[in-house]
């Protein structure tokens, strides 16, 4: 059975269809889950897509963490279920306390949509197992508030724990330590500002996103083969 991927749709999400398409291309079975649901269908992976959940007129992600579905998302994550937040999804996971750090506006105080190069900081994670340490990945960013921040001590802890997963080769937004993707300590929840779902087809400019989303599918496969 192919991996079941739940893509959470908040009012104001807008990358849900793109995530659906990308996971379909990789052979998974994505389905959309509306934010007012209180339970998840069977989900091997939960994806919080990009967009402007609840309009993001307040702080990004600040309202979305209170959406009814978030309790089920937290349960899934705390049980070790692979979970990724892309862009707005990353912002929401930070607000929900499932990932470390917080977001500020980009240093240039402008929205930025462009292709960037990422460097794999930790290739031993469920999100990067198909990559090599130091490998460069070409993936686009698309955000106004991607300037990730955390305190010195916490940053050290994240570095030591291998939780810094991807870094920008050329920091576009002021993010602390050039961080583009972090994970939780357990290594099953990932947040990143770049959009891997936009980099899964050569005709769109890159297929590097497949390495990241594909790694997650491998992790699902591995979890299945481990006897409960």
């Amino acid at each position: 059975m192919s991996a079941q991927v739940s893509v959470i749709v908040f009012p104001g999400s807008n990358c849900e269809f793109d995530c659906e398409r990308a996971f379909s291309l990789l052979g998974a079975e994505p389905h959309l889950v509306w934010h007012s649901e209180t339970t998840l269908p069977h989900s091997d992976i939960v994806v919080l897509p990009g967009g402007f959940a609840h309009g993001d007129y307040l702080r990004t992600g600040a309202l979305a963490r209170f959406s009814p579905i978030m309790a089920a998302v937290s349960d899934h994550a705390r049980r070790g279920g692979p979970t990724i937040g892309i862009c707005n999804g990353f912002q929401i996971l930070c607000e929900a306390g499932l990932l470390p750090g917080a977001m500020r506006k980009n240093t240039g105080l402008k929205f930025i949509c462009k292709w960037v190069d990422l460097e794999v900081a930790n290739a031993q994670t469920a999100f990067t197992s198909r990559t090599q340490p130091g490998q460069r990945l070409r993936v686009p960013i698309n955000h106004f508030e991607g300037n990730w921040y955390c305190e010195d001590e916490e940053l050290q802890r994240l570095r030591d724990g291998g939780q810094i997963v991807l870094r920008y080769a050329d920091n576009p937004n002021g993010s602390r330590d050039d961080v583009a993707c972090v994970s939780n300590a357990e290594g099953n929840v990932f947040g990143l500002m770049p959009h891997p779902e936009r980099a899964c087809e050569a005709m769109l400019g890159s297929e590097d996103g497949r390495l990241l989303l594909g790694s997650l599918l491998d992790a699902v496969e591995a979890r299945r083969t481990v006897p409960a």
């Binding site: 104001g12 807008n14 402007f52 609840h54 309009g55 686009p140």
Partner: protein, 730 residues
Amino acid sequence: MTVAQGVHRDLGLTDDEYESIRERLGRDPSFTELAMFSVMWSEHCSYKSSRVHLRKMPTEAPHVVLGPGEGAGIVEVAPGTLVAWKIESHNHPSFVEPFNGAATGVGGIVRDILSMGARPIALMDPLRFGPPTDPRNAYLVDGVVHGISSYGNSIGVPTVGGETIFEDCYAENPLVNVACLGFVEGPLMVGRAEGVGNKVILIGSSTGRDGIGGASVLASAEFDETAGEKRPSVQVGDPFTEKLLIEATLELIRTGLVVGVQDLGAGGISCPTAEMASKAGTGMRVDIDRVHRREPGMEPFEVMISESQERMMVVATPENVERVLDVAAKWHLDANLVGDVTSTRNLEVSSEGKVVADVPADALAEEAPAYERPYREPSWIAEVRDAPIGDDPPKDLEDAILTVLGSPNVAGKRWIWEQYDHMIFLGTLEGPGGDAAVIRLPDREHAVAISVDGPARYCYLDPYEGARLAVAEAARNVATVGARPLAITNCLNFGNPEKPGVMWQFAEATRGIADACTALGAPVTGGNVSFYNETSGRAIYPTPVIGMLGALDDLDDRVGMAFSGDGDSLVLLGATDPGDMGGSEFAKVIHGCVGGRPPRLDLTAEKALHSLLHRAATARLLSSAHDLSKGGLAIALIESSLRGNRGFSAELDDDHRILFSESPSRAVVSCPPASLRELRHFADELNVPFAEIGTVGGATLAFGPVEIALDDARRVFETGLAGLLSTSMS
């Protein structure tokens, strides 16, 4: 409410129009009725000065499913695949309040597309401002771009291109046009209040006092120095609600719960109620007490003409009303049953149990006045034609190339388009900065190409020729990426139509568009007219902006503008006339001249070039193709180099006019040497002039008489505009 004498004039209605209203009603209109007429008969909503000219445009072709008069034109781009395509203006609101003016411009065109049952999948923004060296203009650019970015990015519709032009004439009257492409996912929808007894439901944002009289106050009058006082007439956008409205409306249409849909824009509630009833030959009874409001104490007329954003009106059978309300509730949208479809052919509006308006729907909509405004060629045209063309040789050719390359109209627009999400929906195969955007349609193996063009300087010199050139350039852009031009939408930005000189420009431009569209087989499917683009009596250049739609039958047929193979042969297709310097970028930038006549266009040669480009693309002969326009051959070669990060070596004459002439009907293409023979054979067959001019490769732009390092050109191109803007804004 009694109506004070002469109040119609304050609402923008003439004495004659007032008399005509009295005649149709057989009595004095109430104040609410008068307000409704004032917005529906405004220039913006009624096209009263333009209709007689617009009627002369070609609107039919086998692939045109719906032409002008609907929310958007509908074109069949492949068997069974329909797209919606439409352009709108939001010029005056954007001058008064650039952020919200531009943002709500995006919102408005998106709802037009949505009203047809199409999902909005791409936006383009043709923008025009005064010189970026002026801080006021830089502020407007920043505000408009931020407004588009903020709204478009949030609703999740990619902004895939546009154009940004700077001219003195736009300093007090910038132009903000917005085009939107939609993909018809399910059944096609139209704005008809069919079925007596059916219910009318208003969905979306609450109605407030924002945007009272936007169409009549802002869009249908000239500006003077008190423009800032009109700020309350600008609406405030809420992209979050718009995104929900998109999903809710598409769900209503997909599930067959509604029989008619129309967006609310200019004219507020008056517009869809009158138009949907008029088009269906029915009537409508509306109880405005049921309209959900943002504030208490609103007068009936305010409710009827408020232009609060993010609202849609739908018509449903009585048994489906509850389900319609459920869908709205699921998307967290307010929705209210506000009226019924009747057989009276009247629009009857009641409030607190009293009828406050009862007028024939046709009188508001279809039967709005139409004027044959007088027009004549203005005397200054002759002077401009005799003015210096500006084709003298530059002091230094290399310097001239780099100066034109870094000038605001030619320099790269990355500073703008990197603020737009241009990738969402995974369809952007060619995005901003190319000749045309190429958009893969959802779950389809074919794509469409879209481009917006409006060479206003040519139109200033000669509106007929300029308008033909606009259509030709837009079509050429679409042909260059490998597509077949199919249809246009147009945004006609002009000055005050009550002035015979402006009306002459309009008549000439529409005639030019009609002739070019006929010759190129791409009819007009709709568009928008924006008059009164004048401040303190100074009109803008006549600015018809053409939005061209083309179809690519196979995704792999598309051709980019980037040089992509070292050793490729460089070929110039089409004939260069060294005399085509009038209104050129070279003349303006190097000599400060705008004079003479615009380039001469032969539509037969233009069409032949399109056929050749299409044939070469489908035969997969080309590595790159790029249209020649602003800055001529010199700039086209550099742009292809920069995009592909590869230089070239060409053997060109040292006549600067060969490099900078803006003769139309030309493209510079590159291909592997092995494809050269076949390409030449096609060109001969189609009678397109063919000249092998050099080779792709290296890190130098070698024109023959001049050599420029690729990196130097990149610096000039990338920093030209951004540098000017940041200096002005600091």
